[in-house]
């Protein structure tokens, strides 16, 4: 494909609750990616950071903060804020610069430090802000994930045990991942014994917040060949499409869906991977590994179907049959997913790409998927943000 770019290097800072400044994680990840790539810092001509917004103030000017920490060297800079898709948007900005021929090599980096406890809106009376409004009437983040989970139970007959299996699988897969925050195996009984948060989801069905960082060094295919890295894994697609009116599934932070009176209803989640497949010129049958957004255990099942990796309603059966494990027909979240990492918003879409890069290079150690050739990521953020990236070998 002509629209491809090469991934020369990847790096992460271990995720956890470290309580340090986000730039430390970003710099550690960036330096690891630089080292992995063999590219000199001065040769990087574009720095693309995933941004984070705290209390409505974009105080963390990610691209420039990390560029300064690595040492100003006059490169162009960019910061992208797109909630959980921030990393992918930063990557898309770098790809556009590279494909236009403006630069050969770019650093893409995302890092965050999360406050303690649940994420909550800023103070004050703000009835024009849908995020404030829904909290005012008692609708929190887990509400949305629980509505999707319960819908699966009502329509497909999924059970809470099916959801628990996702946690058990992801915990096992991330067990030896040195970058994962939680490295502990759990049983279905452990999940069932954890406190109910939003029925049918328990504490262990919902992911935590974390600090963390992830970075990539990407380049034109020409540049990769020039430095003897013509065999580098490539990015074949980056989809960041918005929903299409009339979006028919209730999305955080809205209290109502679009009305489908005048226009046929559409589904947002499935639009993201569909666009990625179209861009890459491949289909779901070609995929050997997927890193999808397990914000809740049940949501992983939704994503498996939205990525067209099985028929609608069959993801629980696929999981029960062990087909989504490492060694199964279509391994999902070999990294351990958000279940093992937790959320570090501007870093997580990049962390997914790091994992696919290691998998496609055959460098994933104990969690290696044999012969992995094509990987897909998927995630979704607030306010119509989301992304899906396809990595190929």
């Amino acid at each position: 494909m002509s629209g491809e770019i090469a991934i020369l290097g990847v790096g992460m800072h271990p995720w956890g609750k470290w309580g340090r400044n986000f730039a430390e994680y970003g710099v550690a990840a960036a330096r690891a990616a630089l080292k992995d790539s063999g590219v000199k810092w001065r040769d990087v001509r574009f720095i693309s950071g995933g941004g984070t917004v705290r209390n409505g103030y974009p105080g963390y000017v990610a691209g420039a903060t990390i560029a300064q920490a690595l040492g100003w060297q006059g490169a162009e800079v960019n910061t992208s804020y797109a909630a959980c898709a921030s990393g992918s948007q930063a990557l898309a900005a770098a790809r556009a610069k590279i494909l236009s021929g403006e630069v050969d090599v770019a650093l893409v980096v995302g890092a965050d430090t999360t406050p303690k406890g649940f994420l909550a809106p800023a103070k004050g009376e703000r009835p024009d802000d849908p995020d404030w409004v829904r909290f005012r009437v008692g609708i929190t983040n887990p509400t949305y994930f629980a509505l999707y989970a319960r819908r699966r139970m009502e329509i497909y007959g999924d059970t809470q045990d099916d959801f628990a299996l996702v946690k058990v699988k992801n915990a096992e897969q991330g067990f030896t991942n040195p970058y994962a925050r939680y490295r502990k195996k759990f049983t279905a009984e452990d999940v069932a014994a954890s406190a109910m948060v939003a029925d049918p989801l328990r504490l262990m069905d919902v992911c935590a917040t974390s600090d963390g960082g992830a970075a990539l060094i990407v380049s034109s295919l020409e540049y990769a060949r020039k430095i003897g890295r013509g065999d580098a894994v490539r990015i074949a697609a980056i989809s960041t499409v918005t929903p299409s009116f009339a979006s028919s599934v209730i999305e955080m932070p809205d209290l109502a869906t679009d009305s489908a009176v005048a226009v046929a209803p559409t589904q947002f989640r499935s639009a993201l991977p569909r666009k990625a497949y179209e861009q890459a010129g491949i289909g779901p049958k070609d995929v050997s590994v997927a890193e999808v957004y397990d914000l809740s255990t049940a949501l992983e099942l939704d994503w498996i179907e939205d990525c067209l990796l099985c028929e609608r309603g069959e993801a629980a059966a696929l999981t029960r049959a062990g087909q989504t494990r490492i060694g199964g027909r279509i391994p999902v979240n070999p990294s351990g997913g958000l279940a093992c990492f937790g959320e570090a918003v501007p870093a997580q879409a990049l962390a997914q790409v790091c994992e696919l890069t290691w998998q496609l290079r055959g460098e994933a150690g104990d969690r290696q998927i044999e012969g992995a050739k094509v990987g897909i990521t998927a995630n979704q953020g607030l306010f119509g943000h989301g992304s899906s990236v396809i990595v190929v070998r």
Partner: protein, 153 residues
């Protein structure tokens, strides 16, 4: 509410629903050109249907009954700006599909109705209930979903 306390009359969100407690309605708007409904009311003045140039909207009362799409509950007290009774009492939440408007609206389920009484497809109606407030001792009014008498899935 304690005996003799004033009845709540102030809505938790101004202009979002009628306060006629016998048969309350959510207040939305409807595009005069394409018929698309909005809740809450559209404030931009431009229809969100990408193929519609509509700039004229009528304030409308949405259907006060619909069918459950999905449901859950809140087992933990939400953070502010939610104001909860102390001690916190968990409540159920339902996403209800309105047939005429072809849209879904979220809301709490009335007090005393837990998730064990809910089922996808169940008929629900809109009612008003009082929720605690930081400044008004009698609380404020909010919309909630209530199973229609004798409703089954």
């Amino acid at each position: 509410m304690s005996e003799g306390a004033a009845q709540a009359t102030v809505p938790v969100l101004d202009g979002w629903f009628t306060t006629d407690s016998a048969a309350p309605h959510l207040i939305g708007s409807q595009c005069a050109s394409c018929g698309t409904y909005y809740f809450p009311k559209l404030i931009s003045g431009y229809c969100r249907n990408p193929d519609c140039d509509g700039e004229t909207f009528e304030s409308v009362e949405l259907s006060r009954t619909g069918k459950v799409w999905s449901f859950t509950n809140a087992c933990y007290k939400p953070p502010e700006p939610y104001i909860a009774a102390d001690p916190f009492v968990p409540y159920a939440i339902a996403a209800v599909e309105l047939e005429k408007e072809k849209m879904m609206v979220l809301g709490q389920v009335v007090e005393g109705v837990g998730i064990e009484s809910l089922k996808a497809g169940m008929e629900m109606e809109l009612v008003l209930e009082t929720v605690p407030d930081a400044t008004l001792p009698e609380g404020k009014l909010t919309w909630k979903w209530k199973p229609v008498e004798g409703a089954g899935a």
